[in-house]
């Protein structure tokens, strides 16, 4: 018996004490360090489910399904085709319907920011005269609350979407499905963050009467705008397009500008619209959410797949969907605390829990999954460019493949990590990394910071247990 160990140059992977690595490096040995953490303790049910899923016949079935899902996600081609009022385009929308972020949630369990946004929206829609009256109405049962996701929509932060708000209309040129999301309100003290004073309502009215209609008319002239291409360019220009959208906003504005000037509005109104878009880099933030939703919906509903097609939060619970279940089977766990820098005057204890449909961006592979593309916002993850690179590489551990259509230059043009596999999340104990804004815990205040958050492990645990059951029962 001879050994390969003596015939090749010693090259070590060190799992544990870093002093061993230092000693080896001092001797000129190349060492890769594993920053080891203890594995998560798993329940017997989960262990049994993982055993089932790792049976070769079942694993092969799941792998094949997952392959189909990622192919659908990657070959999706989302384009912007218009801006229209929710009541006119969103499936199932009524005047008394309020869409919200996250999985389903009852009024009494809603977070402060969501309640603030709902009451503001009811006043904006003329369904109540005051916030107090709106609060009473919201609790009365006369208003239908439903998740954005269940209406082909996504909504940033509280995600509150009412009948007369203008929506992006994003169409998948490959698969034909359509996705919607409302317009950015730009500032911090805004409806989606839970603020609802008169300045917030006034802005929504202007968006409904001037901003939305002008965008709508511009898109009728433009026809369509290729959002997949714009997103690919924006990522190469230093966005990750969840918290940093400056490049995406410039690119989108560049496409819209010539059409906006051709609309039948006054120069004064056009100037206001241009100034409003200029007032925040976030203008295109919702746009990329709709792109992500559009591609992921195309990958949803493939039997036996363990790929996560939705991650979303309502400030009370975090919910995911797996492609295996067509429709809306939610796996939930408690919403988590977002950790990150706070705006002046606010402290961590003021934070509401994790909220918004915007984690759809991470589900698709941008945002927290593409931190390496956006070194300018590494302060968000409290560290170095290296830590951003590591965080982005880490996400390959829990995903199925990479998306060659959207690449990250600094990682040698590696594609986005695509197709979160719930099996891998459970196996590695590594949770998806989401970067997101922080809303105040109380209604009526708004955004107070930004930071990082992980989903609760529970939703992946219950999804995997259910999947083991589903794949063996047919």
């Amino acid at each position: 018996m001879s050994t390969t160990l003596f015939d090749s140059t010693l090259k070590v992977v060190n799992v544990g004490a870093t002093s061993f690595k230092d000693d080896l490096e001092a001797q000129g040995v190349s060492v890769a360090q594993v920053a080891w953490t203890p594995p998560r303790a798993v329940s017997p049910e989960l262990e049994a489910a993982m055993d089932t899923l790792s049976r070769p016949d079942i694993a092969a079935k799941i792998d094949a399904a997952n392959q189909e899902v990622v192919e659908r996600i990657i070959s999706s081609h989302p384009v912007l085709v218009g801006y229209e009022k929710a009541i006119d385009v969103v499936p199932g929308m009524t005047k008394e319907t309020i869409l919200h972020a996250g999985p389903p949630v009852a009024w009494e369990n809603m977070a402060g920011a969501m309640k603030g946004a709902i009451t503001g929206a009811l006043v904006f829609e003329g369904l109540a005269d005051t916030i107090e009256a709106a609060t009473e109405l919201a609790a009365s049962g006369k208003i239908t609350f439903s998740p954005c996701h269940e209406h082909d929509c996504v909504g940033s932060m509280a995600g509150i979407t009412s009948a007369s708000m203008y929506m992006h209309v994003v169409k998948n040129k490959t698969y034909g499905n359509v996705s919607y999301t409302n317009l950015s309100e730009q500032l911090a003290k805004i409806l989606r963050m839970g603020a609802n004073d008169q300045s917030v309502i006034d802005r929504l009215v202007w968006m409904r009467d001037v901003f939305g209609p002008m965008l709508s008319e511009a898109m009728k002239i433009a026809g369509e705008i290729d959002l997949r291409m714009l997103l690919a360019q924006a990522i190469q220009m230093g966005d990750e397009d969840h918290n940093r959208n400056i490049s995406g906003t410039l690119l989108l504005m560049q496409k819209l500008a010539s059409h906006l000037v051709m609309t039948d509005f006054t120069n004064e109104q056009k100037k206001d619209v241009f100034a409003f878009i200029e007032s925040s880099d976030y203008f295109s933030g919702p746009t990329w959410m709709a792109v992500a939703k559009n591609a992921l919906d195309a990958g949803h509903g493939v039997k036996n797949s363990s790929i996560v097609t939705t991650m979303t939060r309502n400030g009370y619970e975090f919910g995911i969907r797996l492609s295996n279940w067509e429709g809306f089977r939610w796996f939930t766990g408690p919403a988590q605390v977002v950790v990150g820098p706070m705006m002046a005057g606010f402290k961590p204890e003021d934070s509401g829990l994790d909220i918004g449909d915007s984690a759809i961006t991470e589900t698709f592979g941008i945002g927290g999954f593409a931190m390496a593309a956006a070194p300018a916002i590494v302060p968000l993850i409290g560290g170095t460019v290296d830590s951003a690179l590591d965080a982005t590489k880490d996400m390959l551990e829990i995903t199925t493949t990479t998306n060659p259509n959207i690449t990250i230059p600094i990682l040698d043009f590696r594609g986005l990590a695509t197709g979160i596999d719930a099996r891998k999340v459970v196996e590695t104990g590594m949770l998806p990394l989401i970067n997101t804004a922080i809303a105040h815990k109380d209604a009526g205040i708004g955004m107070i910071g930004a930071g990082l958050v992980n989903p609760p492990f529970e939703c992946f645990e219950s999804a995997i247990i259910a999947l083991a059951d589903a794949v063996t029962s047919d």
Binding site: T3, A17, A35, L187, P341, M342, D390
Partner: protein, 517 residues
Amino acid sequence: MTVAARISENTYVDSMSLMALSTRANDVDGVNQAMVGMGTDMNKQVIESVGLMTPEVQGAGRSDLITVVDLADGQDADEVFAAIDALRATGPGAGTGANASFRSLSQALREDEDSTLVVISVPGEHAAREAKSALQRDKHVMIFSDNVSLEDEIELKKTAHDKGLLVMGPDCGTAIINGKGLCFANAVRRGRIGVVAASGTGAQEVSVQIDALGGGISQLIGVGGRDLSADVGGIMMLDGLDVLAADEGTDVIVVLSKPPARSVKDAILERAARAGKPVVACFIGPSGSTGPLEQDGVTVVSTSRDAARTAVALDGTTLDGGSEVDLTGHDVASVRESFTSGQRYVRGLFCGGTVNDEVFYQLVAELDDVHSNVAGDPSTRLEPNGKSRAHSVVDFGSDEYTQGRPHPMIDPTVRAARLVEEAADPEVAVILLDFELGFGSNPDPVGAMLDAIEKAKATADEAQRPLEIIGYVLGTDGDSQNKARQTEQLHQAGVRTVSDVIELGALGAAYVREGRN
């Protein structure tokens, strides 16, 4: 409330950095609240809402940087602005230069495909899982961790054996592969003697003695202390023998272990006899130094000293002197006569487990009433964490002393306190100490004990007792701690030194043995 604002015109910093900076600025002394941001409408709105608005802030443009603070009473604004500027200059991540590292072993193995060996030092209950995944990817494994279950050890070693891979450990402290020291190894000369060892400090001792005698190490494979138990059956010792037998860089093989189970011993000797090159089998045990014995073509010895000497001789080096320890130069008679009538005992306080064992067997061979905390026989075993009795040796690396604290080779605290305690015992004449050098060990093992040595000497002086402290420095001049420098420190502190473990035990016994010169 004293609000002070400063507008830096045409100064751009991106918003995410500024939010992080604001958070840190809130912690500056003399600041009740701070906000640093560009003069955008959004930031002005935020500043307004927290009550820090001033006319300057109101007038700031979008390309101006606003720093606005609510100052504590009597706090100078310029000082605070300077402190915030200093924070901005350093940035949150400045100077960390974190190396890229991997989140999991599977990630590391995928991205670093040509690695050959995985070293595992995670808590024992998790080590087997990591080792399994390394073996799956066809990597050799060294498991430094202890507390791995026997079942896991057997399964891992069987898997490795079937795949032609090595599993060094669990509880393997020392290895030298291709001239590179792993975990607790010493900087020894590269040579043609291969070692496969079930004992960490035993392997260290044999390798430094070979080095001292002019020989060198081709490979040193550790297998962990349980490998030669009847349950594990010496799977890796046998495989280690085989790979060294096949290794063209190895001319002589040393096998090192405590006396194994009979069946395992037979298997090893049988395999050794077929190695095709000279094998020295060293089973460190109670027989003491009996000199080399030939058995089926294998040279069997029972001390690290004989193992090293025999191997070097087989490798073709002619050695001066015999295998007998020479104590001339240690003033045995005069030292013994200097002790007061009550001073009768020798106490050994050791970091190295095999050092402890070898000295114990030396003392047992020469003296009566010898005890140890790791003695197999309950009648000579010290209470856990208990006091010494008569002649005693204590292994400070055993579990009772290492629960929740670093190994004594790294952290001298427990042994240092015990040294002072022993020196105060009027029955103690001689104290024996070992100092392991090399990778992984304390950067200055003697230096770390000097205070305690001084105190021990002072305690004995006050009581007008001579106290003989004998130190053994296990290492080489190539070790970063440097053997010559460590030895010099001992001499300056009045500590006598010896040149190997066997001499340490022999001299300790000689100083307290009655009725012989």
